[in-house]
Symmetry: C2
Subunit: 374 residues, 2 copies
């Protein structure tokens, strides 16, 4: 399922087979929270080199509901994307979006951020929803403790996360599980390593999950406010305890620099709202660093946003026009900016893959960062 093709230092180049095609690793997943990438067509994401879209179980459960998606023929058909889809378990959103949440041994009670309705999510329910959505990669339900939580809390949370991971795996593997109906394409299931900023807890979490045996392993609970260096250290403390033959996914990360640092430490998969969300705030990624397009200096700048980028935005419009659209709150501004930022991230991943193939990842990383962060 995961096939390692090449290493450059610890950076890995591989392939991951799913029911909707083989993915080239390392890769970045474009966020499609409710089953749509904000402002882009699925066909555009594909043209830009996007391989996987990430959708949110929590959001789709609340609206339109997994039963509607199932009746539509699954999420791929509903949103017109025939490539792989990863769905998270909803765990992170329960902890970040709900005003109340009551943790119990067998699940978590939370309130819909839309209408305040109380919902009880169990590990089994999280998997069942993802089965109905029909994603290619499912995530176990985990608990994501706050960045400033005490060690004692994190320890207890870790135990719960392991227990829930076991129950997810059991439900996934059970012969009566809808997953095992022959009509449903096989869905991969990933565990999520927690453990806060404690190396020993990260190690313990990784080992417990590996004992359960998942198709891949995510590192959760990072990029929650800690210094970058601490995040990189946590990756270093976790990766050695994960099997070589399974993909490694750093959840919710990050900046171009974060991605390079993580690939260097052996990470294969990423997702982040940065390219899409920042695009909407006029915060644009370029090979020469960040362009805040509303800056007065671009008012009469008739050059392309990023001379090294081949996306539609860079080929057809000038910074002056992009600034004008942004200042005028034009809808097209969101679209052109998003298109470019997604192109930038996907192109970075492509360059990373090529650099690993040619065993010059370190060199590429240095060159990229020198130009990006002069």
């Amino acid at each position: 399922m995961f096939h390692l093709l090449k290493q450059s230092g610890k950076a890995r180049r591989g392939t991951l087979k799913t029911a909707h095609g083989e993915i080239q690793t390392p890769f970045f997943m474009t966020i499609g929270t409710v089953g749509a990438v904000k402002g882009l067509l699925p066909s555009e994401v594909k043209e830009l080199g996007g391989q996987v879209i990430l959708a949110n179980t929590y959001h789709l459960h609340l609206r339109p509901g997994e039963d509607v998606v199932e009746k539509a023929g699954g999420l791929h058909k509903f949103m017109d994307w025939d490539g792989p889809i990863l769905t998270d378990s909803g765990g992170y959103q329960v902890f970040s979006l709900s005003k109340i949440r009551k943790l119990k041994d067998d699940g978590v009670e939370f309130q819909s951020h839309l209408d305040g309705k109380k919902i009880f999510l169990t590990p089994e329910k999280a998997i069942e929803i993802q089965m109905k959505l029909g994603s290619d990669i499912m995530m176990v339900l985990d608990e994501c403790p706050a960045a400033d939580a005490e060690r004692k809390y994190i320890e207890k949370s870790l135990e719960l996360t392991t227990k829930w991971a076991q129950r997810c795996k059991q439900f996934h593997d059970a012969p009566q599980s809808p997953h095992n109906r022959p009509t449903i394409a096989p869905q991969l299931l990933f565990g999520i390593v927690q453990g806060g900023m404690h190396p020993d807890l990260r190690e313990r979490s990784a080992k417990e999950l590996v004992a359960i045996d998942f198709d891949g392993y995510a590192i959760g609970g990072l990029s929650v406010g800690e210094p970058n260096e601490v995040m990189y250290q946590m990756i270093e403390h976790t990766v050695p305890h994960l099997p070589e033959d399974r993909p490694r996914y750093l959840m919710g990360v990050g900046t171009p620099q974060d991605i390079l640092e993580a690939v260097e430490r052996g990470i294969d998969m990423f997702d982040c709202v940065l390219p899409t969300r920042n695009a909407r705030h006029g915060h644009l990624f370029t090979s020469e660093g960040i362009v805040r397009i509303k800056n007065e200096r671009y008012k009469e700048d008739f050059t392309p946003l990023d001379p090294e980028c081949g996306c539609y935005t860079c080929k057809h419009f000038t910074k002056a026009y992009l600034r004008h659209l942004f200042m005028a709150n034009e809808l097209l501004s969101l679209r052109l900016n998003t298109l470019h930022n997604v192109a930038f991230y996907l192109n970075l991943m492509k360059q990373i893959r090529e650099a690993i193939e040619e065993d010059r990842f370190d060199e590429f990383k240095k060159e990229f960062l020198n130009k990006y962060n002069p």
Copy 2:
């Protein structure tokens, strides 16, 4: 410049030659207020059959300013649209958007709706701005009286509009005018008939403008709250006084039915915010009438929005998905809805042109409305 190819009753099929290509009439102009169609690329507008984009002098004067656009190489280059552009004079926006406006004989003082800055717009200035923008069809500065204005006011306003029209024409024709610099492509200039809901004033306005001799004639001040029948009557009272060999433009109109009624009465050109604005409110035009996509009945409707439409939205997505995106306030909803509504309007115009060519306009109109308004 305007060439009449065929008539079917009073409905006219012709061509209008501009510096950026020949336009097939009757046609509908997609609104690109600030130099962008809301949510669509210029290349998409063209693919949908769009021939002309309408941009607003008032908005572009305030932001980014006509000097920036001129430095960019003109509006066509700035916004990446190489087809014809029509710019209005700013007159209508001065009267609809500014809190204060002081009419004087030689122009109008108004406040920017963005920052409250006072601006004085003269007929010459309105043309000069449009020359810098480099549009293919320019409109004279007019005064657009309110729908409930008294006859006396409308009469005075009409006189001012005629006087301003003369000054616009003079400025346009003057040998020292930037328009007559050999580097600038020839720009057509249209007059605007006013006269409220008074047939004799409409006649007078038309005759006075025809005496000045414009490249085309618009009918302004309609669709401002009067009953549809009154609007159709005003068209009937105006058209006979306009020359056969010039295009006729009904400003700011309208619904599919309005367009059919106006074409039947000899109108060649239209613009309206309806397809784009209503798209953003989930109000979608289809061959079977209007679909309000948020309606609960579409929750599990897995059929296309309009089975007769070949646009990307209708070919790739279901009503259930479009409803989901709309309910979730997704950015992609605005884009997919706009794409469809613009496709619907442009396709209607194409069908109208074909029906006139084949001398079956009356039949087409009946069939269309029977299905649209059953």
